[in-house]
């Protein structure tokens, strides 16, 4: 296991370094800079120059990049330019919310994905197959901002059963927190669940056609057991890798869903920071999201190796 990690670490670090370069360069390319935003609509050029000086925007770019990376390594992320407060606090607040949303969404992805996959692959009755097809196509076709608004319209406004937006942290009040989490998590999860479902369905169908299932059937093992004990363990490892990739999409997709449900997560913060050209916040956020993605990749590869003995022993 450690040898495996050591082999994968250099490539992960390479991706992180490249990501930091891309984030830094991208922001410098974007026209408009924090000083203009901070200066407000009616400030004079003098104000704007004073702010540029305070934020150190006139230093040479490499110096700014090294200062940023230096700050990262020593843990001092420095103040945010436009939004106010320390970058570290801003991200800490947002992180809790986004982790909660992503995990909630992952739960839905696994539950719905499994249901779509298993029913899609094994059900014989036409109605079940029909509904699974409609749901998966719908989940893929209807963009999250439409499902979001529809869900709010039905559950919050018409039925008044669930809150339309906002968040109560799960840790402080779990029973309330869940009710806030339900709709955004479902909305974020639907497209990924459809993709996972289709992938799992393919995996199960391909495994059921393999010889060892024929051997097990000939030995008189019941079809249900065949599916859960024999076919699924084979179909699972590649699905775990896909789940890792989906986590990346969930993090990226949060921008949309958080806007619809006023969920104060990192996606919301990212959009605000980008609009206000708050360089440190955006850069740290992008790097954080990439780091999480890379870690999740490593994790899912490990789990994949764990689940498939052939790989583990190599």
């Amino acid at each position: 296991m450690r040898r495996y990690l050591l082999r994968r670490l250099p490539s992960a670090l390479l991706v992180l370094l490249a990501a930091s370069f891309l984030a830094f360069a991208l922001l410098r390319l974007v026209p408009g800079d924090p000083a203009a935003v901070l200066a407000g609509p009616d400030a004079s050029p003098a104000t704007e120059a004073a702010i540029r000086e305070r934020l150190g925007l006139d230093d040479p770019l490499p110096a700014q990049y090294l200062r940023w990376i230096g700050g990262l390594l020593t843990g001092d992320l420095g103040p945010s330019y436009a939004i106010g407060g320390q970058t570290a606090d801003l991200i800490a607040d947002g992180l809790g919310a986004t982790v909660e949303l992503t995990l909630g969404a992952l739960l839905f992805v696994v539950a719905l994905g499994a249901a779509f996959g298993i029913l899609g692959a094994t059900s014989r009755n036409r109605w079940t197959l029909g509904t699974v097809r409609v749901l998966t196509t719908g989940a893929l076709a209807v963009p999250p901002f439409v499902t979001g608004v529809l869900l709010v319209l039905v559950f919050a406004v018409l039925l008044g059963v669930l809150p339309p937006g906002g968040r109560v942290p799960l840790l402080t009040a779990p029973d309330l927190g869940v009710q806030y989490l339900l709709l955004p998590a479902l909305c974020l999860a639907l497209p990924s669940a459809a993709v996972l479902g289709r992938y799992l369905k393919d995996g199960i169908e391909r495994t059921l056609a393999e010889d060892h299932i024929r051997t097990a059937t000939a030995a008189g093992i019941a079809p249900r057991r065949l599916l859960w004990r024999h076919a699924l363990p084979n179909a699972l490892p590649p699905v775990v890798t896909l789940l890792g990739m989906q986590t990346g999409h969930l993090l990226g997709g949060a921008v949309l869903v958080e806007a619809i449900f006023a969920w104060p997560g990192l996606g919301q913060l990212a959009e605000q920071a980008l609009v206000r050209r708050d360089y440190p916040v955006v850069q740290d956020l992008l790097l954080l999201l990439v780091t999480v993605f890379v870690l999740v990749q490593l994790l899912t590869d490990l789990v994949h190796a764990r689940l498939d003995p052939r790989i583990r022993w190599e």
Binding site: P143, V146, M245, G248, G252, V290
Partner: protein, 285 residues
């Protein structure tokens, strides 16, 4: 020179190309029909639509079936049927360029990876980076840099497709180059380049065809999201995503506003996924 009795080749009619056979199945045909319907609507937009997509009028939020406006009008009094058809045309224009562009770049990188081991690690890390970068935030930044219009949308969609095709082709090449007919070709004196183009690529291309159908679905999805965040195509030009996001505030009072694009996107995605499934089943046989 005695030759054994000439073995009569098994009577086999000329076999059709596997893709044509796949698309002839019931699933394939329905899929193609649905996609064809939407594409046709897009192509014939100028003929079918009575009004220009950007002609405004005083008649705001008229319901479906009002004379002259079969699907009704939007908040600025523009004919929804015209905006829908021209929206399809705009969307098709974008994804018809973006997905092949992404595929081409992805495949080129995969070929580079196949050529040289060092290039292989670099390309793989590049794919990881593109996948790791949160899509929508990248979209916001790219549009901010390039300004509004089709180009950033095309670039973002293409970029999102690069790793999908790149990885698929890279694994495809690895698998095929291990096959016996490649060794046979090498022993038969065929040059490396020709082995790649005539032997490995045609066989490694199958999964890519399926991926095209899946990628088109993702492209429609991404264009909608970008329009919703206000970084899509330059207004007042309509796209499915733009019309959909404009219809959101009126969902409660004028649902017909959102119905048009929603039905079209669903039909397109259903058609594409059916075609992808038909092709997939054929390739796996």
């Amino acid at each position: 020179m005695t030759t054994l009795a000439a073995a009569k080749p098994a009577p086999a009619r000329k076999p059709r190309h596997p893709y044509r056979a796949a698309l002839a199945t019931a699933r394939g045909r329905t899929g193609l029909a649905l996609v064809g319907l939407v594409v046709l609507a897009g192509l014939l937009a100028p003929l079918l639509a009575g009004h220009g997509p950007t002609d405004q009028s005083a008649l705001a939020l008229a319901g479906p079936g009002t004379p002259g406006h079969p699907l009704g009008t939007d908040d600025l009094g523009r004919d929804l049927l015209a905006r829908l058809l021209h929206g399809i045309r705009a969307d098709l224009g974008i994804i018809a360029v973006a997905v092949p562009l992404g595929a081409a770049v992805g495949c080129l990188l995969a070929l580079a990876a196949a050529a040289h081991p060092v290039a292989d690690t670099v390309v793989q890390r590049a794919f990881d980076l593109i996948l790791a970068f949160p899509g929508l935030i990248l979209a916001l930044a790219v549009t901010a840099v390039l300004g509004p219009g089709r180009l950033p949308v095309i670039l973002v969609i293409a970029l999102a497709e690069v790793p999908a095709f790149g990885r698929l082709l890279r694994t495809g090449i690895l698998v095929q180059s291990g096959r016996e007919y490649v060794t046979a070709a090498r022993v038969g004196g065929t040059s490396g380049g020709r082995i790649l183009t005539r032997h490995i690529l045609p066989n490694a291309a199958d999964p890519l065809v399926v991926q095209i159908a899946v990628s088109l679905t993702v492209a429609v999805f991404l264009e909608g999201a970008m329009s919703f965040l206000g970084v899509g195509v330059r207004p007042p030009e309509p796209t499915l995503g733009a019309v959909l996001s404009q219809s959101m505030p009126y969902l409660a009072q004028a649902p017909h506003f959102a119905a048009g694009p929603l039905v079209t996107v669903t039909t397109l995605v259903l058609g594409l996924s059916l075609t992808a499934e038909a092709l997939n089943r054929e390739i796996r046989r």
